[in-house]
Symmetry: C2
Subunit: 204 residues, 2 copies
Amino acid sequence: MRIVLASGSPRRKEILDQIGIKYDVCVSSADEHTIEKDPKKMVMLLSERKAMSVLKKLESGESGICDHPEEETFCVIGCDTVVYQENGNGILGKPRSEAEAFEMLNALQGGFHEVYSGVTILVSGLKTPVKRSFWERTVVHFSQMTDEEILEYIKTGDPMDKAGGYGIQGFCARYIEGIEGDYLNVVGLPARHLYSELKSLGAV
Amino acid sequence: MRIVLASGSPRRKEILDQIGIKYDVCVSSADEHTIEKDPKKMVMLLSERKAMSVLKKLESGESGICDHPEEETFCVIGCDTVVYQENGNGILGKPRSEAEAFEMLNALQGGFHEVYSGVTILVSGLKTPVKRSFWERTVVHFSQMTDEEILEYIKTGDPMDKAGGYGIQGFCARYIEGIEGDYLNVVGLPARHLYSELKSLGAV
């Protein structure tokens, strides 16, 4: 079975490398806009759209990954991750400006929030096509940050391409009190749960 | 103030790099044998021995880090990390053989254990010398592993230089259900707590 990651995120690739899973990459062209406000439903919905988009590319041969897609069994992994503050600003995406990054970090510092990743696995080419979707939740506790510390962190450039305006795997770790749940789920891919599903599907 | 890490561990160096702390390295010659069985006391004791050993090397000039140690203020960071199973095998160090690694992983799989890191910071060259010691605890939950999975993991070579026979930051992440506490504390250095202490000492 050929595993295909429907994401160009270097962090998701690093996670699959770390846990020893071999894969190809095909970036989805899925529409990532949604009015869904529930974080679990949102990440499941978007992960499914991404996986569907890539499966279509693979089956039509436009992915460029293989010459004879009709002879292959694909196991496509779509994933979406959001930061969520239940009694605050709801779902936080990537900041669109440094001012917005400041707002996000100021909302997160000194408290806790949740990170949800949704995963959809699509297996094609079997007699019965398979779809598995799940979500995973991790709670993250931030220590307090002064305005100067928030500005110093924004200057590193790290917040700008990350949901919630921070990356737990970078400089910002100096402000992470602790988490409850899967660490790699916060980085962008729930590794343990994903491995368990891939194993049960016979993909690894 | 010149920060000196009393450890040659590449993982501890990576953590300081990650959170943006500049430092030199001087490996301690401390005796790491102890009959202490309490994990908190043990990691504090060994972290202090390591920091003391390095401070002596620095002040005597034998560290090779600086030419005029009498003109410097050193902030030495000693650290020790252990894996602990309260209702099982107590403190687990590094496995001395593959058979011992198997025993350790078999004891950890399908349950939870604690990881303790102890840190001692020594600041020299001030009117009043400063010593700060603390410990940090993180709970780690493992999923179940088959004998074949344990042997596959041992074959990667990853377990042999790590307390408890695993590294959370590697291949083994596929078996980590989740944690409670600071992730980097499990990797080997409690980054958030350490940063907070260094800040209060004026070292960063």
